[in-house]
Structures are given as C-alpha cells and as structure tokens.
C-alpha cells in the first residue's frame, strides 16, 4: 500500500517539477511551484519525515510562492 502511494507521489513530484520548469509565465509558475511544494511535503511525510514535511509545506507551498507573488506585484506596479 505504502509502495503504491510512494510511486504515485513520486510520479506527481516528477510531473510537478517538469511543470514548474515548462511554465513560462512567472505568475502561473508561482502557483505551480506552490503545488509542487505541497507534493514534496507529501513525499517527505510518506518517507516518515513529518518534521521535514511540515517545514517543506510551510516554506515551499506558502512562503516561497508568496514572496514571488509579492515581488511580481511590485514589478508590475512599477512598470505600469
């Protein structure tokens, strides 16, 4: 059961990482990076590292995309 879950999540990580690289628009990329961070957190949880998983979710899925979004808002406002 765990192996099946692990394979599913690993495939999601591979798909998520590829999607982050292939997305060209920074706004969409921030959203996909957030999803990718969440999936990585799931992977760490499945590999029995819940502490690391929690850190990964807070930083990868919340903090990092938030900083990118805020920076984008600043850049777009200045160029208006």
């Amino acid at each position: 059961m765990t192996t099946v879950l692990l394979v599913v999540v690993l495939l999601m990580v591979a798909a998520g990482g590829t999607a982050v690289v292939l997305t060209r628009d920074p706004l969409n990329q921030a959203m996909i990076a957030s999803f990718y961070g969440l999936v990585l957190g799931l992977l760490f949880l499945l590999m029995q590292a819940p502490d690391v998983g929690l850190s990964q979710i807070t930083v990868g899925a919340v903090a990092l995309p938030l900083m990118i979004l805020l920076a984008l808002a600043k850049v777009r406002r200045d160029s208006r």
Binding site: D51, T58, V62, M67, L70, A71
Partner: protein
Amino acid sequence: MTPSVRRWTFLVAAAALGGLLVWGMSGLPPFGDYHGVYGLLLNEVAVPERHATNVVAAVTFDYRGVDTMIEEFILFAAVIGVAVLLRNMRFEEEHEPEEQARGRRVPGTSNAVRVIGLTLLGPIVLYGLYVVAHGHLTPGGGFQGGVVLATGALLVYLSGEYVTLRRVRPQAFIDLAEATGAGSYVVVGLYGLVVAGSFLANFLPLGKIGTLPSAGTMPIINLAVGLEVAAGFTLLLSEFLDQTLVLDSTGRRT
C-alpha cells in the same frame, strides 16, 4: 553553436547524467536500512535523557541546539536584509494605500474570499500556536508553527483591507517581537552556561514524558523561535506590501 549541435550536446549529456544517476541510485541501501551510529544512539537515549517524545526536536533544540540558533539568525539576517533593501528611498514618497485612493483600480475583495479568510483566521492562529507549543512532543515546532502563524497576517490582508493589516500589526511591535524571539534563544543558552556550566544546557526540570510541560528548555526555545519566525515572516509580508501598495516612486532621483 547551431541549435542542432546544442540539442545533441544536451541529449548526450542528459543521457549520461541519467545513466549515472540510475547506476548510483541502484546502489543505495534499501529504505529504512539505517546504520548511522549517532542517530541510533539518539533514538535510544533521547526519551530517557531529555523526556522529549519528538527525537527530531531533541536533536535540533537540545543536542545540536547551537546549529538551530545559527539557523535562526540566518533567517533573522535575511529578514533584516529584505527590510533594508525595501526601505523608503529618498526619491520615493508614501501615499495612501491604493485601495483608498480616488479612482481606485484595485477591485474590492469578494465576499467569498472575505468569509473564507475570516473563518480560517481563528483556526489557523490556534493551529500555529498548537504546532509551536507541541514541538517537543509531535512533529512541528517553532519554525513550522511560526510560518503558520504568519499566514494569519496574510489572511487578514486577503480578507480585509491593507489598512486593517496595518492596524493589527504595529510595525514597532513586530520589530520588537522578532528581535525578542531571536534574542531569547541566546539568553536561554547563556543562562544554561551560567547555571549548568555549558551553553544551551537543558537546565529546567524535565517533567513527565509526553506532557506539555516536559523536555526542559525545549518548549521555551520553541516559543522563542516561533515568535521570531512569525514576526519575521509578517515583517517580510508587510515590507513587500508597503512597496506594492503604499510607496510610489516620484521619478525624481536625488
């Protein structure tokens, strides 16, 4: 270099890298097959020695507490760096948040976002406090809980107006909270040096295993880290929002 040469160079290099990776990973020990002497020893001694049921917390906040202290100051320095980079420049002047300006361009918050944001605010803050307080018992701790707490500030911004956020997080208080969080860690360490003879010694009574007041100094340090991280991320958020919504370059560079 023509595009086709570049493509072939990449394909050959990627195939070689992929082959090496697969070869290397096929030689890894199976999952859960662990022989680290230090880790096995800690698994044995952490609960009886420190009364902390989360061995990870026992490592990060006690046995290797100095490492975590330095990590905390990395975040502290990074937040200060952002605050310095995003300070008010001489050619910028502060004006009213865009949301209040005449002829506002920002669309108002939708009721759905407002209701969900305000509904989530209480549980999120409570959950953040829970994660901070139970760091020595279950997965979590000051860092994770601190970021969760800081998302509370984000929810206030999302569900209300920027002005509301300014009202609930006075700048001076946030600055003070961040510095207090970072400083308390060092104070706990120094106090251990004075009363128990070594920096970050666990000088408090260890308490009953599995209860909230246990594991000695660990909950105190978790609280300090939680305060520092929550305030740090709130500061980051408001510095960026100040830049986006309040500051305006007048175009005059002096």
